[in-house]
Structure formats: structure tokens, C-alpha cells
Symmetry: C2
Subunit: 640 residues, 2 copies
């Protein structure tokens, strides 16, 4: 049994929120069918996936050669995981035949000893586990296990779970401290999280132990990756890793000793999530301490205001504290998914709702921005300032795409967004010692197993228009409601009467002894946010937020050359009309400002600065580039 | 005979200017001996050169393997060229034995048919001319020829010239429109400039014709590089060029049709210089028109205020018009050397001094910044804003080094700076139809062959302190003196009397009928410069200039976090004391300003903006990072 918080089952949450229901429904109705077509190479004019074809070839049922990234297998696993959540939440019964078809195929591609990886099986059958740095075998195994657990939870079917268990057993036997075991660990973390989930389902301690081994063995001397590199060099898998550095893969020192988050952002943040999970599961105080330090490192020094992480386009990685370049930022969608996972586990570890401020920041901004409002286009990279003209191939800005893409040769993000949004309920509700924790203000209905039996909860949250949340229950319930950092002196009513709840660890604790209704006025107004002086990039600039939503300027509303727009801090911001045709009834925000001109007609000349009065319109960052392509900008210059 | 302008021989110019004499003397006294040691691998703790060792191995006089870049040979050629200028200007007689030693070695490494390239001779002897895109054989040949011409001019010795001629003859026979000739052209332009110089020395029209062929054949259909790529892929020479694009090497359309400067900055600007040179030499109006268009493209849309060019760190290339990112800029030192060459040739083509504004901009800022004041350290990359903490390996900012380096694995810049500064006289004076053109205000003495016989000219220029230039002649001379764009209503006196010269093509034309003295007051004060509104990066910012010198802020004077410094445009700027221990008696510039604080203690928070009064000190960009390492910034925020 998992310690502490347990998320509600996906069959016990129904999202009704106008913004998020759009996305959750869209995942089931459009995204998963679209992605199935992609995985089967039925969509023209986009990157070839070949993911299922690789399995068919590995199963001996099709001729051909492996195609794709070494981790191509993971795409179908994440699709299966997302499908499982959709099935569990009652939206995906139509997927069952497709899922069964995929699962049958996967199991047929599994090797007799349980090994399962089409790249190594087809391309390098004799080189299993020989290049952990780059090979991604454990990474793919992790997603397989997560999909298997999710599918089992959703359907009770053990077919994929058994395949995953067979592979997990092979992994647990292969890796460990024993003389005949490999003393290695994954080049890309993910298996750790998966093994903990598998442990929670099976209660088999070997899986927890193997996850622990991977975390504690990492970065120890003699360094496994250095030894591995002595055996193989210039593998050709990732040319950009020819001069691989240990920090890239967080293998420079053991994770428990790490205090600064370093290297590839997704690798790092997945590892952190696993560390926090392990710390809770194993009551490991040192791991908890390291998790806390890494949490502070990422959220207090290396995170964009959108919950994006990873400042360097090259190698998708963290750089220096406070180095947060708006235009060239990487901010991979997957990294913000990982930040949600880390925050969720830190909250569970510490029973502290404040971690959900960051979960929410990542969700409401970068993760939602990662997918188009029609579900068929994706951002992999999520900068905070875009000038489409400079997003050119063969340049330092090649990683930034000014419009969402159909698919990617490395397609980790689209399926990661799908599985995250399909399982959104886990970020909203959790049960802990009979109490129901509410972590996100996303309108929904939930079933809770209270101390006195099942109760139905209904939450109506209207954050962006009224700033209110109404929570009703049809029976007694002990509620722990997160008090968000962006609420301005929230006011509570219970059954129409003012109520001052005790606030503990950012939870407002309200024990309803019978059916009743809680009304919270979070006092949400548009607000300006500035950055620490240490963020050189944002000196003299402010960003506009409404609740957890970061707003941005788009060319569609403001014309081009957005960096020339200057605002007055004392300008009143008013909520405007909703964004046409876009989900969530999200208001535009409007305020007076100025358009700067240097007065210089040539490239350089004598300044004749002018500020022309203008009106500025901001829209939610999560919805940008859903109307017309163009410039976008979050951090706006302030008139000083 | 070269048409139009001819630069004075280096034996006819003596630099006396306190700033530039320092560098010119330093080249002869410290830099060339240091570089000789580098080329001989006698300097410890830095990148290995192996340049001369490669020649020894190719000559069969040493065992070993080729080491270095495919263009490693070019380093000794550029060193020889610089040495030649030093010898010609009377500073380098001590180099003659070293030069002879190198020349003898080079000739011994030459193949029987005249071919000369140690990489191909040692590593790929059967693959000559098979990979023009990457092979750099013609590039190295170009530098060989330039060195040979320079050494011949300096010493009259024909040994290297004959070797160069033998190779040039092979090249002229190998490349051309004939059936048995290759219809290719260099992957990196340089040979064109060299062949034109060789033609001017030898008057052999084949060299001019071959240069013309290379320029006119480039980018024609069927595209040679595309054909070549069909033969060879993934050569391994430059992994970053695995998906080579034609624009990178300006081979997308013929140069005569190009109107926008594209691709790798050094390749592009060398090509432009050759186009302008050819247009003049061959009276080619279409090439002149293309040269003019490319000049406007680079100087009006793609040039940093420092005369730096090349906006993308990845592939060292041009990007989009007005994309001029201060921090991530490439601005390779060699590219600004090329811009000087292009400007010099455009001025000669058009007999228009205004092109020298750009030559001067590149020289006085990026090129001088490329070398330390002690001559032993070099910048390859010259951004306009540096935060040392973020210049990390394995990131998008890895190309920026916050301090000058001892040497580079690709070491084109140090020797390019050396040959440029050692031949500085060619940028100051030129003769044309009996007149003496003065293009730079660099104190010096010159001998001019006037219409009535030789005259001695002395120029004392004090631009940064007094803004005055005093030019005296001991005999009659027809002077064409450039009127710089930064002069504010210049006032002329001849022999103490006011004089209003005719201004033609930015030349003040003054015919001294006898010995006399001209005094020009250029009215130089510190001035603020702004950028076009199209340069999004610089909205609301200004740069400070004094004459041609761009000023910058350094941490050494202003503390860290330079982006937080805000200035008031109406602030008075005063000349302060000189920079201690640095050449040129260059004044600091001082003015009042503010230090911005957001008032935010955490990473993000509610703004409480303050501006604290402070004093700001700016120093010449060309001298930055000669005192203490630290932050640097050119474009400063303006209080609006």
C-alpha cells in the first residue's frame, strides 16, 4: 500500500471545467485516435513514426528494418498509458480493441527471456545493456511498465502487466550490487518511477529495491558511464553526445548528494520525481533532503515563470542559476510534465499543498501550451518570446518552432501531454488518512471514500472571471483544500456563513460533518509579476498573470514588433471579452501602454525616442498560437 | 596593373598612433614569435597546433600522422603573410630566417605536380578535390598564394611565389569550363581573392580568369555541391554539416544574382570582397551591382554596431535581417577582418570613402577586441553582452568564451588579426591617379609618389581626446581625405586659414600646391546611438560611441549585473581618465545613471521597482577584458 496520499482512481473523477474538460475530452475524442494513426504511419506529410511497424518486424510478422530513435518504442507505451486513463475515466471504451491489438503485438515482440526493445532486438541484438548512456532500454522499459500498470488499473487485464513483470524481473536480475549483476543505471531516468508503481501494484519488494539501486548507484565511483565510454566511443547514436559529460545525465555525483539540478532537464526532473517518491516509500530522510534541495534549485533558480525548465537549446538542458533566456529557452513540454510529477510527489512526501503551486504553474502554462486547442499540433519547445522570422533551421534558434508541429522525429512530448491530461484527476484530488485533499481548482465531480462512507464532491471553480470556488458534498467529509499562493487573502464560507479555517502546510482544513457547501473567494485579479534582480534577462520587465495563468502578447492582437511595447506599471488592467473559438471562456486582458520608437531610420543612428500611446491586449500563454501564427512575448518592458 | 586605388607599400607607411602603434609593434615583437612557437608546438597548456609538423611529415622528414583541422596548413600561411608585412615595414628582419625555414619546408611538402595540402597528402591522398564542400584545399591554396605575394613584395624572394604559382597553375588547369576540368568551386571562399592578387603581381590572366570562374560557376545548375553530396555523404569531417544546406556556402544561386547575404559569415564576406575586387578588375557591372546589394544587406540589416557579423552561434552564420542578438552573437573576428576587406574593395570599386566608415567600425571594435593588449590571447567570438556564468560548455552559449584564449583547435582568427594589423597601412592610405587618399585617422607617416615627385606626409590624429587631425606634407600633394560619418560638421584649415573643401563621395579634396598643413576639427564628442526599430533586441536601448569607437560597460568599473543599469538619455557624458596600463590613452566615459531593482526577493514576485542613482563608467569595447574578467555590455537600457 502506497504511503500517504493516494490519488483518486480515474473512474472516480469527472472533469467539468470549461477549459480542462475541452482538453480531456479532446484527448479521448481526437488526440488518441490521431496518435494511433501516427503510430501506424497513416498520417501523410509528417515525420514517420514506424513505432508499431518496429514491433511487427521484431515479432517476425513483417519484413523491414527498424526505423526511428532508439526510444521509438516508448511512443506506443505512452499512448497505451493515456488510453488506459481514458478507459478508466469512462471515455475510452472504443480504444479497448486497439489497445488489445497493440498489447498482443507488444507481447509477441517480447523475447523469450522477457527482454523487450525493438531497437536492440532488430539492430544490435548482441549489444543489450552495453550502452546504458544512450541506449534507452531502461527508459522504454519504464514506459512499458507504467502503461501496464495503468492498463491493469483501468481494465483488470493482466496481459500487458505480465509482460511488464517479466521484463522487470529480467531487469531486477540484471542490475544490482551482486557480483554477476551490472552495476549500471539508466542513461535517461524513468524506470525508477515505473518500478515504484509496479511495486505498489504487486507489492513485490524487488521492484522497489531495484529502483532504489538505480538511484543510489548513480554517479558512484568508479563511474559506470566512464567505464562504459572506455569500452565504446562514437556510437553514432547521438552525435551531439560525442563529448558526453556526466552532469548531462546527473551522474557526476550520487543523487543523494546533489543540491543543484543539472544537465538534461527531462532526465533530471524524472530523477527528482523518483527520488521524492522513494524518499516517501522508504522513509529515506537523506533522499528527502536531497529532493528538497533539488526542488529549491529548480523552482527558485532555474524555472521560467511558465513552469518551463531547461534554458539551453543545445542538449535540452539546465544551465546556470537565474539564466532564463526568454527567446532561446528550451522548456521542453516533457520537462514540465516531469515538474508536475516531481511537485506531486514532493507534496505527498511533505504533505504540503504549496508544492502544487508549481504543479499548477507547469500545467496551466507550458503543458497546456504544448498541445493545440484542436489537439492535432504540438510544441516540443516552449519559449517565452518568439519572433518567427528568426526560428531558422541550421541556426542557434533551430530548436524553436514558431507554430505547433504535426509530429516529431523524437516524439516524446505529444504522448506525454496525452497521458498527463488523460490522468488529470490525480493532480486535482488525493486521499490521505480519510481526508480528501483538493489540489487544483478545476471544476469536477469526484467520489471520495470518506471515514463514514462514500461521498460525492462537486467543485465549481471560476478562477479567471470571478475568482471563486464552490465545493459541495453530499455527505460528511474532511477536506484539505490547497490555498494557492496567488490568492489574495482568500475568504471562506461554509454553508453561507463566514468561516476561518485552520491553514496547515498551505491546506485550509475544513471538516464538513454533514452534506454542505464551501465557497471560497480567492480574490483573483490580474497582477503584475517581476523577477528577481538576478534574472538579468528580465531587468525592467514584468509579466501579467491571472491566477495561475501567465498571459502573453500575441501579434494577432498587438501587431508585430512586440518588444517595442512598453507598459506603465500603474496602468489599470481590465478583463476583456473571451478569446473567440478557444476553450475555457478565458478573458483577454487589456491595458494602456506605449509603442516605443527609436526614431532611427537606418540600422544605427542618433536616437529620437518616442512613446506613442497604444492599447495592449494580453491572452493566456497556454492558448497562444491557436489563432494566427506570429510573434509572442511574455515579459514586457516597463516604463521606468 | 591594378585599376584604381593602390595601397601604399608597407615600406612607405609608419604608424605612430599611440593606440595602433601599440598593436602593430606588438604583432612584430610578441605576437609573431608567440605564434611561431604555437605553430611549432612549443607552448604548453593550450590547443595543439601541429601545423609545421604536418608539413614535415608530408615532406617525408618526420614520422607521425596528420593532426588538426583539414585547413590546418592555412595557419602558417597567414603567419607568413603577417611576417611579410612586418618585414616590409621594417619591423621584421629577424623573421627572415624563420620565414625561409618555413618556406623551404613548405616547398619540400609540395607534390611533384604542384599540389600542396598536407591533410589530403597525408590522410586522403586519393581523394583530392573530391569534397570541395568541406575539404578546404582551395581555401588553403588561397592563403598560400596571399603569403607568397606578400613575401615576394616584402623581400623580392620568388621561392614561395614560384611554389604558389605551380599550385595556382594546377588549380587553373583543374577547374574551369572545359570538358576535362572540374566544374566546382571552393566550399570556403578565399582562393578568389588570392588569385586576383596573384594576377596583379604576375599579370597572368589565367589567374584572374580562374577567380572569375569560381565566382560565376558558384551556385549554377546543376549544382556542383548537390552532385558532390550524391557521391559522398557523412564524410565525418564536419559532423555539423551532415545536413549541409546550400545557403551555408552561398551556393544556392550564383553570386551575381544574390541580393541578401546568407550563410557562414566568413565564407560570405570573403566572397563579397572577391566579387567587388573582380567587378573593379573586370569592369563587370552586374557583379558591381550584386556587390552593392550584398554590401547593403550586410551593413544595413545584418551588422552589429561593433562591425561584428554573424548572428548564429551554430554554424557561425547570418540569420534574418535585423536579428542581432547581443549575448549569443557569433561575430567571428575573421568575419570582421573580411568586412574590412569587403569595404576596402567597395571603396576602390566606387571611389567612395564612405565605405571606410564600416572598415573603421570593424577595425576599431571587433578586430582590435579580437586580440589582447598583450598580444597573447584571442577572442574568436565577439558578442556585445557577456555574462561569464552562462558561457558553459555543452550549452547553446558554449561558443562564447568570457575571456580571450591562448589558442584554438580551429585557429583562423589569431593569424588573421596578425596579418590585418601588420598590414594596417593599406587601410589608411591609397594612391589613385596621382592623389593620396586618406581613409583612416591613424597617426602615421607616409611616403607618397605625387605627380611632382615624392612627398612625405605626416598625420597626427587625436580623435578621442580633441577630435582633431593634423596632416602635413613636405611638398605638393593632392589629398582626398575621408570625411567620416561620425564627424559633426568638420571644419578644415589649410596653413592656418579656414578652408571649405569640395566634398565628393565622402572625400574632402584638398590640393596642396606646396608643403603645407591641414588641420581638421572633426568635432568629436561622446554620442548616443540607437538602433532601427526593426532590431527587436535593442528596443529602448542605446549604445555610447566616441568617434568610431563603441564603448561598453565592464564589471570591473560598474559591479556585476550590468543589465540592471539604466541611463538617462539627457545625462551628460564626460571624458574621464585614461584606462590604466592599456594602450592608446583612451578615456573612460562617465555619466550618471540608475541601478534598477525589481524589489523581488524570490525568483518571481510582486514588483516594487526602484531606481537608485549611480554613476556609470564606459570603456572602449576594443579594450574590454584586458583588466579583469567579468560581465560586459554594449547596449544599455534607457529610462523612457
Amino acid at each position: 500500500m502506497q504511503k500517504g496520499y493516494r490519488p483518486l482512481g480515474h473512474n472516480r473523477v469527472e472533469i467539468t471545467d470549461p477549459l480542462f474538460r475541452h482538453y480531456v475530452d479532446m484527448i479521448a475524442e481526437k488526440v488518441l485516435p490521431y496518435q494511433w494513426d501516427i503510430l501506424n504511419d497513416r498520417i501523410q506529410g509528417t515525420e514517420r513514426s514506424h513505432c508499431l511497424a518496429n514491433f511487427r518486424i521484431a515479432a517476425g510478422e513483417m519484413d523491414g528494418e527498424f526505423y526511428g530513435a532508439v526510444f521509438q518504442d516508448s511512443d506506443v507505451y505512452k499512448w497505451l498509458e493515456a488510453v488506459s486513463y481514458s478507459i478508466e475515466s469512462g471515455k475510452g471504451s472504443a480504444f479497448v480493441p486497439l489497445a488489445e491489438q497493440a498489447i498482443d503485438l507488444i507481447t509477441r515482440a517480447q523475447q523469450p527471456d522477457g527482454y523487450l526493445n525493438t531497437y536492440y532486438t532488430l539492430v544490435k541484438p548482441r549489444e543489450r545493456w552495453s550502452n546504458l548512456r544512450e541506449g534507452h532500454e531502461l527508459y522504454c522499459a519504464g514506459y512499458l511498465i507504467e502503461a501496464a500498470v495503468a492498463y491493469f488499473n483501468a481494465t483488470g487485464s493482466k496481459k500487458l502487466l505480465n509482460a511488464a513483470i517479466r521484463f522487470a524481473d529480467l531487469i531486477a536480475a540484471t542490475f544490482g550490487p551482486g557480483e554477476n549483476q551490472l552495476h549500471g543505471y539508466p542513461g535517461h531516468q524513468e524506470i525508477e518511477l515505473a518500478l515504484i508503481r509496479l511495486y505498489r501494484v504487486t507489492q513485490d519488494p524487488r521492484y522497489l529495491e531495484t529502483a532504489r539501486y538505480f538511484i543510489h548507484q548513480r554517479g558512484r565511483e568508479p563511474n559506470y558511464f566512464i567505464q562504459e565510454m572506455k569500452q565504446i566511443q562514437n556510437t553514432g547514436i547521438f552525435p551531439e553526445l560525442d563529448d558526453f559529460d556526466l552532469k548531462y545525465a546527473q551522474a557526476h555525483i550520487p543523487p543523494v548528494e546533489q543540491r543543484s539540478i543539472e544537465g538534461h532537464a527531462v532526465r533530471a526532473i524524472y530523477m527528482c520525481a523518483a527520488m521524492a517518491d522513494l524518499a516517501r516509500e522508504c522513509d529515506d530522510a537523506k533522499l528527502a533532503e536531497a529532493s528538497q534541495a533539488l526542488w529549491k534549485s529548480v523552482t527558485e533558480k532555474k524555472m521560467f515563470i511558465t513552469g518551463g525548465i531547461g534554458s539551453s537549446g543545445f542538449l535540452e538542458r539546465f544551465t546556470t542559476d537565474y539564466d532564463l533566456p526568454n527567446g532561446s529557452a528550451y522548456c521542453e513540454t516533457c520537462a514540465s510534465v516531469g515538474l508536475m510529477m516531481f511537485g506531486q510527489r514532493m507534496a505527498a512526501l511533505n504533505k504540503d499543498a504549496s508544492f502544487y503551486d508549481t504543479v499548477e504553474k507547469a500545467l496551466c502554462n507550458t503543458v497546456l501550451a504544448g498541445i493545440s486547442a484542436d489537439g492535432l499540433r504540438y510544441f516540443y519547445v516552449n519559449p517565452l518570446e518568439v519572433w518567427p522570422d528568426i526560428c531558422l533551421p541550421h541556426t542557434s534558434m533551430a530548436h524553436v518552432k514558431p507554430v505547433r508541429q504535426q509530429w516529431f522525429s523524437v516524439a516524446c512530448c505529444p504522448t506525454n501531454v496525452a497521458r498527463t491530461l488523460a490522468s488529470l484527476g490525480q493532480y486535482i484530488y488525493a486521499e490521505d488518512e480519510g481526508a480528501l485533499c483538493i489540489h487544483q481548482f478545476i471544476s469536477s465531480r469526484a467520489e471520495h471514500q470518506g471515514r463514514q462512507g462514500p461521498v460525492r464532491i462537486s467543485m465549481e471553480a471560476d478562477i479567471v472571471r470571478r475568482g471563486t470556488v464552490r465545493i459541495s458534498s453530499d455527505g460528511p467529509v474532511n477536506l484539505c483544500i490547497r490555498v494557492p499562493s496567488w490568492a489574495d487573502h482568500p475568504v471562506f464560507q461554509v454553508d453561507g456563513s463566514a468561516f476561518e479555517p485552520e491553514i496547515r502546510n498551505s491546506y485550509a482544513c475544513i471538516d464538513l460533518v454533514a452534506a454542505g457547501e464551501i465557497l471560497i473567494d480567492l480574490h483573483v485579479s490580474p497582477r503584475w509579476v517581476a523577477a528577481s534582480d538576478s534574472v538579468r534577462e528580465n531587468a525592467g520587465k514584468t509579466a501579467l498573470m491571472l491566477g495561475p495563468f501567465v498571459y502573453c502578447l500575441e501579434e494577432a492582437d498587438n501587431g508585430d514588433n512586440l518588444p517595442a511595447l512598453i507598459l506603465a506599471l500603474d496602468a489599470g488592467v481590465r478583463r476583456g471579452e473571451s478569446l473567440d473559438c478557444l476553450p475555457g471562456d478565458m478573458p483577454k486582458l487589456e491595458y494602456p501602454g506605449f509603442r516605443f520608437s527609436s526614431g532611427v531610420g537606418s540600422l544605427y543612428g542618433s536616437p529620437n525616442f518616442t512613446l506613442g500611446e497604444t492599447s495592449i491586449t494580453a491572452v493566456p500563454y497556454c492558448l497562444w498560437c491557436n489563432r494566427a501564427p506570429g510573434e509572442m512575448l511574455v515579459w514586457q518592458k516597463q516604463r521606468l
